[in-house]
């Protein structure tokens, strides 16, 4: 391995090829992102005059971003996204962690049946259930509201599964000791298991938040009011209004919607990759 330390290694042809290829593919991958940002700071005249330059001759970023933030209720969309993601995540952990603890640490009749239910739940894509869930939401009278955006996701089979796998790695002695200390089962879940399973909780949180921030399918079905729209649906509403005539503000809005996740991703790359690959990558 000492060869790796040799300074000349950087000049080896294979290393040069590696960097050249990866920089090229990386640049190609970033083209849509870079072009989006570029258009978001260009005035309409420059957008419609075909040009290769990233930086505009006349900086129009302030106008475009102001328009995106005021003409489209973008702060409202982002706020909706935040509220919906936070409530979904909170409810999911509240519902999934105790169930996962029971599955991992208590022996009881029906446990295998319950675990089978979780596995079947893992198998079912939510889009397939959308029609009956829509009818259910209609019957409950909660369509076109935050509750409609949240209720299908209150329980996450993946969350139960992930927490169970992690809880199983915590020694039984820890649970016994906690019981001897007089902790109730539910207290063991919240005071012992969940804090000890923090990596799993973080991975699941990222999985859940990214998924629901980005989700278009379900909001498209249950929300009509602009004031309730999460970011992806808001982008579509804005796009329809502008009818393709005003690219600058639309690109500014798209940039702002993508930005929070990209910043979080760059700050915690390892956690994101682990969370979004469902623990397949350690």
């Amino acid at each position: 391995m000492s060869i790796n330390m040799h300074p000349n290694r950087l000049l080896q042809p294979s290393a040069i090829v590696r960097h050249a290829v990866l920089l090229t593919t990386g640049a190609l991958i970033l083209v849509p992102v870079v072009w989006m940002v570029s258009l978001s700071i260009k005035p309409p005249g420059e957008i419609f005059r075909a040009s290769f330059s990233f930086w505009p001759a006349q900086f129009y970023g302030v106008e475009n971003y102001t328009k995106a933030l005021t003409e489209a209720p973008l702060p409202r969309y982002m706020g909706n996204g935040l509220i919906v993601c936070a409530l979904i995540l909170g409810l999911q952990i509240l519902v999934c962690a105790p169930c996962a603890y029971a599955l991992a640490k208590i022996r009881f009749p029906g446990r295998d049946l319950l675990f089978a239910m979780v596995l079947i739940g893992l198998l079912l894509p939510h889009q397939v259930l959308s029609l009956p869930l829509f009818v259910l939401g209609y019957q409950l009278g909660i369509l076109n509201g935050y509750a409609a955006l949240i209720f299908p996701y209150v329980v996450s089979p993946f969350g139960i599964f992930l927490f169970r796998q992690f809880f199983k790695t915590i020694p039984d002695d820890v649970v016994h000791a906690a019981r001897l200390d007089g902790l109730s089962e539910i207290a063991i879940v919240w005071k012992i298991m969940v804090p000890m399973a923090l990596p799993a909780v973080i991975a699941f949180s990222i999985f859940s938040v990214v998924g629901h921030w980005n989700d278009l399918f379900w909001p498209l079905i249950v929300v009509r009011d602009q004031s309730l729209m999460p970011p992806p649906l808001g982008i579509i509403a804005f796009k329809t209004e502008e009818a393709g005539n005003d690219y600058g503000p639309l690109m500014a809005a798209s940039t702002l919607v993508v930005l929070p996740l990209v910043i979080a991703f760059l700050a915690a790359q390892k956690w994101f990759i682990q969370g979004m690959t469902g623990g397949a990558v350690k």
Binding site: L94, M117, P125, V128, S130, L266, Q269, T277
Partner: protein, 325 residues
């Protein structure tokens, strides 16, 4: 919301018997059955809310889909009668659905190999050196977590027939241009390219993990056997050992590709004609725009059958390598 509150009562009981637990088994024999009962009670109380929501939000709806698919029930209707497979006969007789099914399969058949090859190549290149690994990984993974609806809007600008960067570049190089999203020959392939663009980073991180798990001694052994060229080691060690990971990548990417919706909705709405229509978009449009419940439910059942088959294949694959006890 009464469920979680009910939890606070029941689970206290096992802790009351906590002192019994410390006794040797012979002395604790009498209350053992009582303890088993309270433990079971506690377990079901803990799992109660999850059980309730699993039934209400997964099991009931999946039964609902099948019921709607084999009856003539319509939105707002109070009556329904059994119609057998009439809805399925209708969708398979419909050119639109058949086009949607074929398009989805074509799309998956482009996206899966494309994602697999690019993801593997980039993972191999990243792993072949030590420098800038996390930088390259971050760049290539970025599209996978970026909001696809917003990125689709950016792609639309790139693909714009007159002012888009793609056509500008092609024209500058003297190559023919196209109206990518409005031409029935290019719409679906372009969506597939976007699908590869979005998913290759995902395949890449899965391959990177697979590469890390290959033991160094296998490379050392290959070295002593005279496989000292990078290509030799790739052929004799790396690729064979990546077999299981590759199968896993194929299935998870195929699942994601089958579930493509956002790009269709934003960029083509299934058009021109039915040229880029895909299953999930058909399901959405028939169920919620045209309010044809029976049609939509039948599409959902077909979609479910495909997804379940793929997932079960994945489970069987994973079972060979890991065991959940």
């Amino acid at each position: 919301m009464s469920e979680p509150l009910a939890l606070t009562g029941a689970p206290n009981e096992p802790s009351a018997t906590g002192s019994v637990r410390t006794l040797p088994p012979s002395l604790a024999a009498a209350p053992a059955r009582r303890r088993a009962f309270t433990e079971a009670l506690a377990a079901w109380a803990l799992a109660g809310p999850a059980v309730f929501f699993l039934l209400a939000l997964f099991f009931l709806p999946v039964i609902g889909v099948f019921v709607i698919a084999i009856t003539d029930w319509q939105f707002g209707g109070l009556t329904l009668s059994f119609v057998g497979l009439a809805n399925f006969r209708e969708i398979f007789a419909d050119d639109g659905f058949r086009a949607s099914l074929v398009n989805t399969i074509v799309y998956v058949l482009i996206v899966v190999p494309g994602t697999l090859v690019f993801g593997l190549l980039i993972a191999l290149l990243i792993e072949s050196g030590k420098s800038c690994r996390s930088f390259y990984r971050a760049i290539h993974f970025l599209p996978f977590m970026a909001t696809l609806t917003a990125m689709a809007v950016a792609w639309e600008a790139l693909l714009h027939p007159t002012i888009g960067l793609v056509n500008q570049t092609l024209a500058a190089m003297g190559l023919p241009t196209a109206n990518w999203l409005r031409d029935e020959n290019t719409a679906l392939p372009v969506l597939a390219v976007i699908g590869i663009w979005q998913n290759l980073g995902y395949a890449m991180v899965l391959f990177l993990a697979g590469l890390k798990s290959i033991p160094q001694d296998l490379y050392d052994a290959a070295d002593t056997d005279g496989a000292d060229l990078w290509l030799d080691r790739l052929r004799t060690v790396t690729l064979p050992l990546l077999g299981p990971v590759s199968m896993f990548v194929v299935i998870v990417v195929a699942l994601r590709a089958f579930e493509s919706f956002d790009t269709v909705k934003v960029l083509t709405q299934g058009g021109p004609g039915h040229a880029s229509e895909m299953l999930l978009y058909t399901l959405y449009r028939e169920s919620f725009e045209y309010l044809r419940s029976g049609y939509g439910a039948a599409v959902a059942v077909v979609f479910l059958a495909i997804v379940v088959t793929l997932t079960l294949a994945q489970v069987r694959l994973m079972d060979r390598r890991v065991h959940y006890q």
